[in-house]
């Protein structure tokens, strides 16, 4: 049998249950790979000791024929999730060394179901970024390389770049991510992995470092659609500690994977066709349409005219909430504190000047500005009104269609450093994904092909609120039609 790290999460689960492999073996195999993957910089913290202890405990349960749905499966956790007694940085100097005395709801549900924690995954600082370059702990490198032989380091996407790279490079069986404007779907798309952002309210936000509260949502990044379904089942659920989490039963998502899509109505929104979009993206989208039609879906052209306002609205709402959410990092109770200060004001100023990186500062400034007296109505209030209309537009569209098909990203993985000087170019990465956050819809990115440089490209499906089952059905249909996309070589092994 092949190495445990080559198994999908579903395969590993079955192998563990059949005692073909032990959790300890799988865990050690992953830890060995992580050890050699320094070049990718995917992990901020590796919790080897904890992982082995958890694996041993899982093996003991498995030996007795017990254990949860994820028993013994080694996972990577985005460093935005607070994990008890384990450094949780949010990719920021501000939280370097921060050891939360509590466990986030989502991760505690993973451990409840038997998963093993390999460590904490690198990410853009406070989840603000689309390339992983804003991390205080250095950027993550995409395990995929162009076939041009140039060996340029590419972005793994962001902000869940550690999660996407680690999943693509087999440094974990699957990973958690969070998605505020596309931070799961965009990195999944550029690393040939599957990423799902569930409906807003489906996963508890309790214990996840907040970026933009009305947009943040946890979700999985995994190697295939089934694995995402397995992960989401454990991550989702009502949490009385999060007032925005929704109390409704969590369906068996895995059962939807492979179910027939015959008769589903697929909307293709014409406004997602951008000027200057690479033809490869356009062609891939057309292929996706064909695959779904061939699988028995009905294809409908739809119009979402407010799409063009989504990015501007997002870049008002998200920074506004962030500017307030990040006010708590003041150096008083935890986290970084400047060593030089003369009074409370300079303590704040120096702490925040040192603790936050440029992108975080930029967004705090934008957010503070749009909430200021005299600007609130023109920016924040207006943005919220447009946001409501974007939601209404989707509600209307979903009276006619069951799923909406779009590209996941406007391009394949770009080179690290290529866009880091131009925030607007960087923000455009989220153009297809932010609408799902603004409207709170579930969405997922599934690998659909490679571009001319051999880099993975993804297609996105959006579904009705809380209709993740249909989403998984559609994603699995695309996955099946697209066939295996291959995997990156282990060029990074040291």
């Amino acid at each position: 049998m092949s190495s445990a790290v080559d198994l999908s999460l579903a395969e590993l689960r079955d192998a563990l249950k059949a005692k073909k492999v032990s959790s300890r073996e799988a865990t050690d195999a992953y830890l060995a790979r992580i050890d050699k993957a320094g070049a990718l910089n995917a992990y901020v913290t590796v919790t080897a000791e904890k992982a082995r202890a958890m694996a041993d405990a899982s093996d003991a349960k498995l030996a007795k024929g017990e254990g949860g749905p994820l028993e013994g499966a080694p996972l990577g956790i985005k460093d935005l999730f607070c994990t008890e007694g384990v450094q949780s940085t949010a990719g920021s100097r501000m939280l370097k060394g921060f050891l939360p005395p509590y466990e986030s709801t989502v991760t505690s549900q993973l451990w409840r179901d038997g998963a093993v924690m390999l460590g904490k995954l690198n990410m853009d600082e406070f989840a603000m970024g689309s390339s992983n370059e804003t991390s205080y702990f250095g950027n993550v490198v995409n395990p995929w390389r162009r076939t041009d032989g140039g060996n340029a380091d590419l972005t793994p996407g962001g902000s869940s770049g550690g999660s996407s790279a680690a999943t693509a490079a087999r440094l974990c069986a699957a990973a958690t991510g969070t998605d505020t404007g596309g931070s799961i779907r965009q990195p999944a798309s550029v690393t040939g992995t599957v990423g799902v952002k569930p409906t807003y309210g489906r996963c508890s936000r309790w214990g996840i470092v907040a970026f933009a509260s009305s947009l943040d949502q946890a979700g999985p990044i995994a190697r295939d659609v089934r694995d995402c379904a397995i992960m989401l089942k454990s991550m989702a659920g009502h949490d009385p500690k999060d007032s925005t989490s929704i109390d409704r039963p969590v369906p068996d998502y895995e059962a939807a994977v492979g179910a027939s899509v015959k008769g589903l109505k697929i909307g293709v929104p014409r406004e997602y066709r951008l000027d200057g979009m690479p033809s490869e993206i356009e062609e891939l989208w057309a292929k996706g349409v064909d695959w779904l039609r061939d699988a028995g879906c009905e294809i409908l052209d739809i119009s979402l005219p407010l799409t063009k306002y989504a990015l501007p609205v997002y870049y008002i709402v998200a920074p506004a909430e962030a500017s307030s959410n990040l006010a708590r990092y003041d150096g008083v109770r935890y986290g970084h504190r400047a060593s030089e200060f003369k009074d409370i004001k300079s303590l704040y100023e120096n702490t925040r000047a040192e603790g936050f990186g440029d992108e975080v500062k930029r967004r705090i400034l934008i957010g503070t500005y749009v909430l200021s007296a005299g600007y609130y109505d023109a920016y924040y209030l207006r943005a919220q009104k447009v946001r409501k209309r974007i939601f209404d537009e989707f509600v209307d569209a979903f009276t006619k269609v069951d799923l909406i098909l779009t590209p996941s990203t406007p391009s394949a993985a770009f080179g690290l450093g290529e866009k880091s000087d131009d925030p607007v170019q960087m923000y455009l990465n989220d153009v297809f994904t932010v609408t799902g956050n603004l409207a709170g819809l579930p969405g997922g990115s599934v690998p659909a092909g490679l571009d001319g440089q051999g880099l993975p490209l993804g297609l996105q499906l959006l579904a009705r609120p809380f209709d993740e089952e249909t989403l998984f059905k559609g994603m699995a249909a695309i996955e099946k039609a697209a066939g295996p996309q291959g995997r990156p070589t282990d060029w990074w092994t040291s």
Binding site: F81, C82, S88, A90, L95, F98, P100, P101, Y102, S104, R205, W206, G207, I208, V209, A210, A212, S213, S214, P240, K241, D242, S243, T244, A320, E321, S323, S324, L326, A327, R328, D330, V332, R333, Y334, I344, Y348, T368, L371, S372, A373, Y376, Y380
Partner: protein, 498 residues
């Protein structure tokens, strides 16, 4: 026209005072507004602090339903409109005792809207003061600067405690009215059990807004709603007693009039009250004012209330002070003044009602307001600490009504009860204070006095006023125990007077 009593004389003419109060009342609740941490007073520093209160990363607020109920109850007690849809906003500013970097409050859509209350002044006049709104918000923690020379300490026990901010309309027109209004709010929340009104523990405090304008301008403001007719206001923060509220209004009005009359102007600013000097001073000017960047808290959903639930709370409200005052006058025959005094405090009112239960209301009121309150006052005790329980005082009144003791003896019994407690009946028995109603015994006393004082007996027919002398002698001889009515009748019969 301006009412003369509301005018304040300046060197250059008459002025009017306009006052608005923002009363912060801590919600009586076991737990804080958005965290499960205890909201109790008196814990050691930072003992009542949850991860939510300390604003750890990823912590989220969950609204305490009981605090919502308390706010609704208070709104109903203020005769105010309950907003079935309200929302929580974030008020953003940096301070070490504000761990989140924002206070969760209600800005645009408060839980309670407009209302009105009646306020009695000392002279018995009743003025009506409008309520602008009531909203729920979190309290901040406490910064302590005097524990160490170079360091400041922060106690987060209060961080997140639920407050109701009750905002009046600018309907208050004098220092007396301001004090009476503040006192009335306290009475109402204590009646409702929604705030304990304990100002020493910080459960209640007021921000006092004061402005002055030339006589007649207030009426113009009322007629037009145009605030430009009013003067620039100052806001004096955290005033925590009824007396201080009065002092702040008096001081600020005088200060502002003097400043304006000497050619100066009033800055819109926040001021602090100095308890020691009775003066206010600038805390921060308008230029230093924060831009709070209010916006709806995305961690919380809008608060939607069920109309039937509000009705249920309304039906469960206790009788409120104004209703009680009216009932005391109309049903129990009390004077307006006594009714006011007794209804102003629920504990006093409850005490009185226990005493008055099944007895003459006026007699009960006299004993409670005159004898008991007088004695308590002299001893420096609150009604809660009264050595005489209400049922015992009721019994004492029964002893008078039943003719067991006279009113005069009752005062002696009262004094004993106040001093060392005890049951009035037993005291009367033990001390042999039972009134003599045995006519035979009284006749014997009267006969003895008549026999011993022939001159007075001869006089009494011409000078009926000397009859009182016989009453006094006979009462003295009986040790005060003779039933006064019986004694009177016997004396009249034996002396042959009418």
């Amino acid at each position: 026209m301006s009412e003369p009593r509301k005018l304040l004389q300046g060197a250059t003419g008459d002025w009017e005072i306009v006052v608005g109060l923002e009363v912060h009342a801590q919600v009586s609740s076991q737990a804080k507004l958005f965290s499960g941490a205890p909201a109790t007073y008196g814990a050691g520093p930072n003992e009542n602090v949850s991860l939510v209160d300390a604003a750890f990363p990823g912590m989220l607020p969950v609204l305490n339903a009981y605090c919502v109920e308390q706010a609704v109850r208070t709104g109903l007690g203020l005769n105010a409109k309950i907003n079935l849809w309200s929302r929580f906003d974030r008020k953003n500013y940096f301070y070490p005792d504000l761990p989140q970097g924002y206070q969760i409050s209600q800005y645009k859509d408060p839980i309670v809207g407009e209302g009105e209350i009646e306020v009695e002044l000392d002279d018995g006049e009743i003025v009506r003061v409008g309520i602008e709104r009531l909203h729920l918000e979190q309290d901040a923690g406490k910064s302590i600067h005097d524990l160490a020379p170079k360091e400041s300490y922060v106690d987060l026990n209060r961080s997140g405690v639920a407050l109701m901010e009750i905002v009046s309309k600018p309907d208050i027109r004098s220092a007396d009215e301001a004090a009476a209004y503040f006192s009335k709010i306290r009475t109402i929340v204590r009646y409702l059990g929604t705030c304990d009104g304990n100002m020493e523990e910080g459960s209640m405090r007021a921000d006092v807004n004061v402005s002055v304008c030339r006589a007649g301008n207030y009426q113009k403001f009322r007629d037009t709603g145009d605030f430009s007719h009013l003067g620039t206001r100052t806001e004096t923060k955290n005033v925590n007693s009824i007396r201080y509220v009065r002092q702040v209004v008096e001081y600020e009005a005088r200060r502002q009039i003097e400043a304006l009359e000497s050619g100066g102007k009033i800055d819109q600013e926040t001021r602090l009250f100095n308890v020691a000097t009775g003066e206010t001073r600038t805390m921060r000017s308008k230029e230093d004012a924060h831009d709070y960047r209010y916006f709806p808290d995305p961690d919380l959903l809008p608060l939607e209330l069920d109309a039937a639930w509000v009705e249920k709370i309304k039906a469960s409200l206790p009788e409120l002070p104004d209703q009680k005052r009216r009932r005391f006058v109309e049903k129990l025959g009390l004077s307006a003044y006594d009714a006011s005094v007794l209804s102003a405090d629920r504990v006093k009112a409850d005490y009185f009602e226990t005493v008055a239960e099944g007895r003459d209301g006026k007699l009960a009121s006299n004993w409670v307001t005159t004898e008991l309150f007088g004695a308590l006052n002299k001893a420096g005790l609150d009604i809660e600490d009264s050595p005489i329980e209400a049922p015992a005082l009721g019994k004492l009144i029964d002893l008078i009504s039943d003719g067991v003791i006279s009113g005069r003896i009752a005062k002696d019994v009262f004094a004993i009860m106040f001093e060392s407690g005890g049951d009035p009946e037993k005291i009367v028995e033990d001390k042999g204070l039972r009134q003599v109603t045995d006519t035979g015994a009284i006749e014997k006393i009267v006969d003895d006095i008549i026999a011993a004082n022939p001159e007075q007996v001869a006089q009494v027919k011409e000078k009926p006023k000397t009859f009182g002398w016989f009453v006094g002698q006979a009462m003295k001889a009986s040790g005060g125990k003779a039933n006064p009515q019986a004694l009177n009748e016997i004396l009249k019969k034996k002396l042959g007077v009418d």
